[in-house]
Symmetry: C2
Subunit: 386 residues, 2 copies
C-alpha cells in the first residue's frame, strides 16, 4: 500500500514525466540539455515538425475519419488488432481514457467494482483518481512499489477483484519486468479464477526484444490490451485498446460517453501509423543501446541503474548525491562535451536523486568517443567531490 506521503511525492512527478520537459523556466539542466549537440535520449524534440513530417506527404484529398468511422481509422484499428493478435481494436485519444474504460467494462461484466494493480500504476498516481471519481471502482494495490507483481502476490490476494492490470514494463521503477513464465502463470491463474487480465502495454513494443516474443504472443495472455503511440513509437498522442469484438463494441460506447469519440482523430492516427512503421522494428537497437549506456552509468561511483541491466529501452539512474550536485556536474559535462544525458533530475530526499532514461533514434548518432569522454568527466567530478 502506497502511503499518502509517497503518493503525493509521486503525484508531483507527473508534470516531469516525459522525455522532453520543455516548459520549465530557469532550469539550467534543461537549458544545457537543449544546447547539447548530442542529446542521448529519445527520438528528437517534441515540436511541430513531428506532425509536419507525418502529415506532409499524405494525400490531402484523403477523407477524415468521422466519429470513429472511415477508412483512415478503421484500417489502422485493423492493423493494430492484427499486430496484437486480437479480434478488434479501437483508437483512443489517450491511454488514461482507454484503460479506465477497460476496467469499467470488466467490472460491469463481473459485477465486482474492484480491480487490482501495482501501487505505481498510471491509474493510481497520474490520473487524479479518475477511476474512482468517475466509476467508483475500488483498487487493490499489489506488491511493494519497488518491485513488479509476482504470481504469489496474485495468489495471496484475499479480496475478489474483477480484473488485474499488469504494466509491462513497470515504468515508475525503471521499466522492470516479470519473467515470461511468470506472465504465463499469472494468466493461467486468472483464467482459472475468472479474473480478467488487462495489459497496460504503453511500452509493450519496447519489451519484445527482451522477451523474444511477438506482441501477439504477449497479448494472448491478456483479455484486453492497451498500447500507446507517443512513447517508444514517438508519435504525437493516442492509444489503441484491443480485445474481443464484444469488449470493443462496449468500449466504443464508453469512448463516446467520455467525449473521446472525436469527429476527427486523424492527426493522431496518421502520426501513430507513420512512426509505428518507422520504429517498431528498431526496438532491439534501442534495447541494446540501453544496456550499453546503463553499463557506463554503473561504472560511476555512487551511481546505479534500476534495473542493473535494462530489460527494455528504458531504465532509471540513481545518484546517491544531492540533486544540486549532480545537476551542476551534468551542466558542466554537457557544456564541455556536447553530450546531453538527461533534461531532468528528480529528488529523493536530500542525498539522492534519479532520472529516467529512455532511448530512441538519437542514441546511435551520438559519437562514442564523446560519450566516453562525458562519462570520464562525470567520474572525475564525482570522485573529486566525494
Amino acid at each position: 500500500m502506497l502511503s499518502e506521503k509517497n503518493k503525493s511525492q509521486w503525484l508531483q512527478l507527473k508534470k516531469y514525466s516525459e522525455e522532453e520537459q520543455t516548459m520549465s523556466n530557469n532550469n539550467p539542466l534543461l537549458e544545457a540539455f537543449k544546447q547539447a549537440a548530442y542529446p542521448v535520449i529519445g527520438h528528437g524534440p517534441r515540436n511541430l515538425q513531428v506532425l509536419q513530417e507525418a502529415i506532409g506527404n499524405m494525400n490531402g484529398q484523403q477523407e477524415s475519419d468521422i466519429y470513429g468511422t472511415g477508412k483512415i481509422i478503421e484500417e489502422f484499428q485493423a492493423k493494430m488488432a492484427n499486430f496484437l493478435g486480437k479480434e478488434a481494436a479501437v483508437f483512443f485519444p489517450s491511454g488514461t481514457m482507454a484503460q479506465q474504460i477497460a476496467l469499467r467494462i470488466w467490472s460491469d461484466e463481473k459485477g465486482i467494482k474492484k480491480v487490482a494493480y501495482h501501487p505505481l500504476s498510471h491509474l493510481e498516481i497520474h490520473e487524479e483518481d479518475g477511476l474512482k471519481e468517475l466509476h467508483h471502482i475500488e483498487t487493490v494495490l499489489l506488491a511493494e512499489k519497488s518491485r513488479v507483481i509476482e504470481l504469489s502476490d496474485v495468489q495471496s490476494m484475499d479480496e475478489e477483484v474483477a480484473c488485474l492490470l499488469l504494466e509491462l514494463p513497470q515504468r515508475e521503477i525503471g521499466g522492470q519486468l516479470p519473467s515470461f513464465e511468470t506472465l504465463v502463470e499469472i494468466s493461467n491463474y486468472c483464467r482459472e479464477k475468472g479474473i480478467k487480465l488487462h495489459l497496460d502495454g504503453a511500452r509493450l513494443y519496447e519489451v519484445l526484444p527482451y522477451y523474444q516474443k511477438t506482441a501477439a504472443e504477449i497479448s494472448q495472455l491478456f483479455d484486453s490490451v492497451y498500447i500507446s503511440f507517443y512513447k517508444g513509437i514517438g508519435g504525437i498522442a493516442g492509444a489503441i485498446l484491443a480485445g474481443d469484438e464484444a469488449f470493443i463494441k462496449k468500449s466504443k460506447v464508453w469512448k463516446r460517453r467520455y467525449g473521446g469519440d472525436l469527429i476527427s482523430l486523424y492527426p493522431y492516427i496518421v502520426s501513430a501509423d507513420y512512426y509505428f512503421d518507422q520504429r517498431v522494428n528498431k526496438m532491439g537497437t534501442y534495447y541494446d543501446g540501453a544496456k550499453e549506456l546503463a553499463q557506463l552509468y554503473n561504472e560511476l561511483p555512487d551511481v546505479s541503474t534500476r534495473p542493473m541491466e535494462p530489460v527494455s529501452n528504458m531504465f532509471h539512474v540513481h545518484f546517491r548525491r544531492s540533486k544540486e550536485e549532480i545537476e551542476s556536474i551534468l551542466v558542466e559535462v554537457y557544456n564541455k562535451t556536447g553530450i546531453g544525458l538527461t533534461n531532468h533530475l528528480r529528488e529523493i530526499g536530500d542525498e539522492e536523486c534519479y532520472c529516467e532514461v529512455s532511448l530512441g533514434d538519437r542514441y546511435v548518432d551520438v559519437p562514442k568517443h564523446l560519450l566516453e569522454k562525458a562519462f570520464q568527466l562525470i567520474n572525475e567530478m564525482l570522485k573529486a567531490k566525494k
Copy 2:
C-alpha cells in the same frame, strides 16, 4: 419530456449529424453531392488538406504543448478567454468532455446532482448518457422539443437544479434562438435563484450577427461557456471551456481524470487558431447567405425552413414529401446544374423529410444563375409530382 421512441429516433441521427457525411456507401445523394461542381454548404471537404494547410506554414521548431502547459496552448487559451470576456479558459479535445465536466463542477458546488436543459440537448441525445453514467447527475428537460427554452420554462421548474444549460443556437431545431432580452431575463432569474447558467456555445460565433452582440456580451450572462472549433470555424476538433479562475482550475483536474489532458493537443489547437482567425469575422456573410438561401427554399411548394428566417448561418429544410422522392429530385438537379445542396436527408415518417443546412466559405463562390436554375428545376419537379 422526450419519449423513448423520439429519443431513439434522435439517437439514430448522431452518425449523420455532420455536414460532410463521407462514410456512407451506396448513397446516391451523397455521391451526387460529392460530384457537384458547386457544393453550397460548409467550408470544404473534411480531408487531410485541412490540417496540412493549418500546420504547413508553422515553424516546425515550435515546441509542443506538454500536458496542458506551454506557449502554444496557454496563448490560445488566453486569447479565447479574452474573446469570451472570461477570467480563464482551457482547451479540451471535445465539447462532450468539457460540458459534462462543467455540469459536474456546478453540481458539486451546489451539492445538487440535478441540471436542466433542452430535450434535444447534445448531452441528452448524442453522448450515450455520459452525464448520467459517469456522474449520476439527473436531468430536467425544459420546454417542448420543437421550441427554445423561455423564461417561463425556467420559472415554472418545480425541481431544484444546480445548473441550467442553454444551447445557442438550438441546433436540432434548425438553430432557433431566444431573444437577447430573454437571455438577460433568464440570466437575472438564475443569479437570483442561485442557479448556475452554462452556455453550450458550440455555434456561438454564428449567432453574433443576429444578436448584434460580441461573444463577451453574450458570455457575461453565463457562469461558464463552451465553444467549438469544428463547426462554424471549420477546424479539425477541439473545444474551449471558459469561466472564472476557480472553475477552470477544477476543470483541469477533471480533464486529467477523463483522459483529456493529452501530452499534445497542438494539432487541434493550431488548426482551431488558424481557422478562427480566418473565419470568425465572416459569420455575418454566412448569415446573410443563409437568409437568402432559406428564401429560395421557402418559395418551393411543400417546402419550408425552420426557422422561416434563419437567425444564424444554419437552418433546417423540411420537405412534406417522402425522402425517396426528394432524394431522386435532388440527385437529378445536382447532375444537371452542378449545384450540390445537401448530402443527407433525414426521414420523419413516410411523408416528410428534412436536411440541415449550414453555410460557410463555399456559398459565396456558387454562381447565382446556377443556384436559381437549380431551385427552378426543383420547383418544376415538385409541381409535376404533386
